[in-house]
């Protein structure tokens, strides 16, 4: 199964390299979103908590602009039926999940680098805590947005519906990650941030389990 999902991931990866649709649109979206924020700030310096919040705002909307592609592209090209024939639902979901995970990691790395270069108050005191938040937050974001993307693709690829459906699902993750990012700015120790970290880990595990269990129902119709 692992080999099969890796093959599926490789297929997505190659078709992405051929068109570079997701990479180009995500990169442009990041630049546009950050420059809009910079223009609206102007010469003022914004507080730490606002910087941390805006960081996750950009991450959320960038994810919403690009991650639906994974399943929508299959529906557009009409290759869903072939996939249904050759692979089990679990394989399909893990292949798409690996692709989205790598996409989310690349995109958020770029956002984090741009933020630390462009925003004065984006200074991380506890780097390990920030790194852990970043990794766990990215996993949660990728899992939740992949399963919602599958629903959206079956609902007829309604672009505007994607953020509407994802936001309530992602809200607990984003609120906790904003809190953890602020902790890492303040240099809070791991012991004090334990409870929030446990929430994010719990969210990731619950979402992963629920997605794998429910994907069968979305995929087979």
């Amino acid at each position: 199964m692992i080999i099969e999902s890796y093959a599926l991931f490789k297929k997505d990866f190659h078709s992405e390299l051929r068109t570079r649709y997701a990479i180009n649109s995500l990169a442009m979206f990041i630049i546009v979103a950050i420059s809009v924020i910079l223009f609206s700030i102007g010469n003022e310096t914004i507080t730490e908590s606002l910087t941390g919040g805006l960081f996750w705002v950009v991450i959320f909307f960038t994810a919403m602009s690009g991650l639906a592609r994974a399943f929508v592209s299959e529906e557009e090209r009409g290759t869903t039926l072939t996939l249904q024939l050759i692979a089990s639902p679990t394989t399909v979901f893990s292949g798409k999940l690996i692709f989205n995970l790598i996409l989310v990691f690349c995109m958020n790395l770029v956002i984090a680098i741009l933020y630390s270069a462009l925003f004065e108050k984006f200074v991380v005191q506890n780097f390990l805590l920030f790194l852990l938040t970043f990794i766990l937050g990215n996993i949660g974001l990728a899992v939740a947005s992949t399963i919602i993307a599958a629903i959206i693709a079956k609902a007829g690829a309604k672009g505007t519906l994607y953020p509407v459906l994802s936001f309530p699902i992602l809200l607990p993750l984003i609120l906790t990650c904003v809190q953890l990012t602020l902790f890492s700015f303040d240099g809070t120790s791991f012991e004090e941030a334990q409870f929030e970290l446990a929430i994010v880990v719990g969210y990731d595990v619950i979402m992963l389990t629920a997605s794998f269990m429910l994907f069968d129902f979305i995929w087979k119709d």
């Binding site: 919602i148 007829g156 309530p168």
Partner: protein, 240 residues
């Protein structure tokens, strides 16, 4: 029929008693409510705010249970039940948000302050809204039922985060929050017996009302579907 009259009388009594009974320092007559520090004259809205919030949760739970049952046996009647519960949940969710905001204005000073409870009811409102947006975007009946059932199950697994965990990490004003020192008048029931009686009568009355509305709701959805199918068969027969 008898129980409908009984329900009408019960809810009429609860509304009149909840609004009209006076709050005094030392209650002596059976119709007088005690003065609870921290709640004061605002205490009366408890008879309407708590039942609506309770029914929001019940409706959400029932919608999830029937969604789960739909995924198990693929019976469209289960989907009608889940949809009807979600519709009522949306109505009671709006009512709970509005009564809560009115109460917050007089107890905490402003209508909305992003208290953890307010955040969670806002998230539930968003989930209901997203569910209806998803339903209205899909034409095919089976697909609509399956996808909305899956979505409501995914949304359901995030609800514990809002209800149990958010109030623990965010500072809150609502009774039951992390930094609530006196545990709140709602939690340890400083009400006297007549106030408790009307409170529980209100809960029972609203719950019966909910189940009645839910039954009417899902039956009308099922009948509407049946009529539409009956109307469709002769026209397609003539056409073919």
């Amino acid at each position: 029929m008898i129980w409908k009259i009984f329900l009408f009388l019960l809810l009429a009594f609860v509304s009149i008693a909840g609004i009209a009974f006076p709050i005094v320092e030392k209650p002596s007559a059976w119709y007088e409510f005690p003065f609870i520090p921290g709640l004061e004259e605002n205490a009366k809205i408890i008879f309407f705010h708590v039942p609506t919030a309770w029914l929001t949760v019940i409706a959400f739970l029932m919608s999830t249970i029937f969604s789960f049952r739909y995924l198990k046996n693929k019976n469209l009647d289960e989907d009608a039940k889940a949809h009807s519960a979600a519709q009522l949940g949306m109505i009671f969710c709006i009512l709970a948000t509005v009564t809560g905001a009115v109460w917050a204005k007089f107890a905490w000073g402003q209508f909305w302050s992003w208290d953890p409870r307010q955040t969670s009811i806002f998230a539930i409102l968003l989930i209901y809204g997203a569910l209806f947006a998803l339903r209205s975007s899909i034409e095919s009946e089976d697909k609509r039922a399956t996808l909305s059932a899956v979505y409501s199950l995914i949304a359901f697994v995030t609800v514990p985060f809002f209800i149990f965990i958010m109030p623990r990490i965010m500072k809150g004003l609502h009774p039951g929050s992390a930094d609530d020192s006196n545990a709140g008048p709602v939690v340890d029931f400083q009400m006297n017996s007549n106030m408790q009686l009307i409170f529980f009568l209100s809960l029972i009355g609203f719950t019966i009302l909910y189940f009645w509305m839910w039954r009417v709701g899902y039956r009308s959805i099922i009948i509407k579907d049946k009529i539409e199918k009956q109307l469709m068969i002769p026209t397609s027969g003539q056409g073919g």
